[in-house]
Amino acid sequence: MITLAHYIILGAILFAIGIFGVITRRNAIGILMSLELIFNAVNINMVAFSRFLTPEGAYGELFTIFIITVAAAESVLGLAIILAIYRKRQVLNADEMNLMKW
């Protein structure tokens, strides 16, 4: 029997991996992809909660749709920014994008 806890724990693991990626990937595109992992972790939670707790309204699933949409918008913009930076400065590594320091 698969319980809600299974899904949430899976989401937590995926979330942790996403965070690890966000913090450690040098490549800016890699950071964006790690962010997608975090979104997916949240989506798993959302759908699981929806199915197990409020199936009558499917609220979690509705929110998942919005999250996916916003995530798409975010990755579009993020990739655009990375592309623009790359054109100007020929860098992709986040630790080299440090103009905003002291």
Partner: protein, 631 residues
């Protein structure tokens, strides 16, 4: 609010109106400014006359209160209180003020600050009237400070002269010392009585609700205010220096009105002072000491205005002495007559200075022929202050002497007698040297002053002659009946005490005779007197070195303390502030390095911070980790 108190309010309000008009509109038009000011004070004067008349035919207390603010249960009011005492003061203040303003039109004629001068005079008149009509302690204190400010402004009127601006500062600072005590007294009294209102405070005090020791402290603190304003002994140093101001100012403020405010205040709060015999003794001794102390200094001064200033000190001492000895009526009576003849003396001196352009009496002389009106009016005033029958000074001085005699304090009585002798002597020294005798080299081109200046002299001379008549004992209209207050009936003679009257006359006449012997007939050379007295003369000439002693004290004690405080402020207080600034800068400089510009470092810090926060929260309350919350 009845008619009389309303009139009192208008009387006080007119001069401030004049002040506003002059400052706002007529500053450029000299004559208009003067006329505005004089008109205002003239109307005030006529109102005062009316109120005085009303009080004579129907004595009574008229007052009203306007609530101003409430502080907890403490009520702050502004109000007017008119009784016999008030109307006399109103009359004196408005009369002298009016005459001085008329006089100033001549005296200040060529001065650049003509309009400004009149605006200040109006402001002063307003403040002084404010003191007189006050019905509570807070209000009297406010106006008390206002007259201090006016005094400061007017002493320093010729502020380009360093002596004048120094004298103004000195007057202000010395007055502050007294005012501080006054404020403490007011606050202490209000703290106990719970109200500022004169009538209520007096009723509270008379009910005996304040223990005697506290009562003495309160009375002495209140008296500090009078010591400062009326220039009594320890704080007298500002008044002689205040003579740097224009002479009409000296006449108005530093002879007739403001310095009398201290006396008036003591008289107004007489019921409070009389509750403490110890305080009354202190007051009497301070007054007596000041009177003889200032008289001795006046014996040897050369500057005409300084002689008059020390004479003023001496006479104020007389009034305080009378009050301290229980002679409330005598003190107020002397205040009134003194206001007339001292204002006259100052205005006469101003007329002389106007003519000869020097203050040194030894550089003048023989002015009688050149300036007959000034000379005659001055003679009248001199006789009056010397206490010659039947001029004003005789009656009021006699009243004080009677009071002292009846109080049984022989020391103070003889002090007053000796002071009277010295007064007669130095006043005639002044008169003889200035108006009689050979011409000094400054008096050649002297000429009589214009009418605007001589008319006030004549009017004041009339008052100096006749003002005393209201004080003749035993008659129907009598000042002592009029402002009779809380004295015991015994201390107040119904008929003249012939013995004392004769004594004082003999003393005054012998003083005058001595002055003639030394300075007119020159049987005894003034120079030889100077040689005989030797060091005493030098001591007197230097005013007992009081100023020097104060300066020594300030330099050696006060400055040391202030240096220590300065060091403390510079190093400890500022040091603490600088340390905070330094730490902030240093810390900022170090923390600046954390702004690495690396997004991932920020992300790491944010996440780990969040995790730490959650862990801390979970340790504090493990139940908080449950996702669905508590049922």
């Amino acid at each position: 609010m009845d008619t009389i108190s309303m009139l009192g309010l208008i009387t006080a309000a007119l001069p401030i109106l004049a002040f506003i008009i002059i400052v706002a509109f007529t500053k450029k038009y000299r004559l208009t400014s003067a006329l505005v000011s004089i008109t205002a004070v003239a109307i005030s004067f006529s109102l005062s006359c009316y109120m005085l008349y009303q009080q004579i035919i129907a004595p009574g207390l008229h007052s009203f209160n306007i609530p101003w603010m409430y502080i907890g249960s403490l009520e702050l009011n502004m109000g007017v209180m008119i009784n016999q005492l008030t109307t006399i003061m109103l009359f004196v203040v408005t009369l002298v003020s009016m005459l001085v303003q008329i006089y100033s039109m001549g005296y200040m004629h060529d001065d650049e600050g003509f309009s400004k001068f009149f605006s200040f005079l109006s402001l002063f008149t307003f403040s002084m009237l404010g003191i007189v009509i006050s019905n509570n302690l807070m209000q009297i204190y406010i106006f008390w400070e206002l007259v201090g400010v006016c005094s400061y402004l007017l002493i320093g009127f010729w502020y380009t002269k360093p002596e004048a601006s120094d004298a103004a500062k000195k007057a202000f600072i010395v007055n502050r010392v007294g005012d501080f005590g006054f404020l403490l007294g007011i606050l202490l009294l209000t703290f106990r009585a719970g109200t500022f209102d004169f009538i209520k405070v007096i009723a509270f005090v008379q009910s005996g609700a304040i223990e005697p020791g506290m009562m003495t402290i309160i009375a002495l603190l209140l008296f500090c205010g009078a010591v400062g304003k009326s220039a009594q002994f320890p704080l007298h140093v500002w008044l002689p220096d205040a003579m740097e101001g224009p002479t009409p100012v000296s006449a108005l403020i530093h002879a007739a009105t403001m310095v009398a405010a201290g006396v008036f205040m003591v008289a107004r709060l007489y019921a409070i002072f009389s509750m403490s015999q110890d305080a009354m003794h202190v007051i009497a001794y301070i007054g007596g000491f000041t009177s003889i102390f200032a008289a001795t200094i006046a014996l040897v001064q050369k500057d005409i205005k300084r002689i008059l200033a020390f004479s003023t000190l001496s006479q104020l001492g007389y009034m305080i002495l009378a009050l301290g000895a229980g002679g409330y009526t005598a003190g107020m009576f002397h205040l009134t007559t003194h206001a007339f003849f001292k204002a006259l003396l100052f205005l006469g001196a101003g007329s002389v200075i106007h003519a000869v352009h020097t203050n040194d009496i030894w550089q003048t002389g023989g002015l009688h022929k050149k300036m007959p009106i000034t000379s005659i009016t001055m003679l009248i005033a001199t006789l009056a202050i010397a206490g010659i029958f039947p001029l004003a000074g005789f009656w009021s001085k006699d009243e004080i002497l009677v009071t002292l005699h009846d109080s049984g304090n022989t020391l103070l009585y003889y002090t007053a007698i000796i002071t009277a002798f010295m007064t007669a002597f130095y006043m005639f020294r002044l008169y003889i040297v200035t108006f009689l005798g050979e011409q000094g080299h400054h008096s050649e081109h002297a000429h009589e002053s214009p009418l605007t200046m001589t008319i006030p002299l004549m009017i004041l001379a009339v008052f100096s002659i006749f003002a005393g008549l209201v004080g003749i004992p035993g008659q129907e209209i009598n000042i002592s009946k009029f402002i009779f207050f809380s004295e015991s009936a015994g201390s107040h003679a119904e008929s003249m005490n012939m013995g004392i009257a004769v004594t004082s006359s003999i003393v005054a006449l012998s003083g005058i005779a001595l002055a003639f012997i030394v300075y007119f007939f020159k049987f005894i050379k003034a120079e030889s007197l100077k040689k005989i007295s030797g060091p005493i003369y030098t001591l007197l000439e230097n005013k007992y070195y009081i100023d020097e002693i104060y300066m020594f004290f300030i330099k050696n004690v006060f400055f040391v303390i202030t240096e220590a405080l300065k060091w403390f402020d510079r190093n400890v207080v500022d040091g603490a502030v600088n340390l905070v600034a330094f730490l902030t800068r240093w810390g900022g400089n170090k923390l600046r390095r954390t702004t690495t510009g690396s997004v991932q470092t920020y992300a790491l810090v944010i996440f780990s911070g969040m995790i730490i926060a959650i862990i801390a929260f979970a340790i504090y309350d493990p139940e908080a980790l449950k996702l669905l919350g508590r049922p």
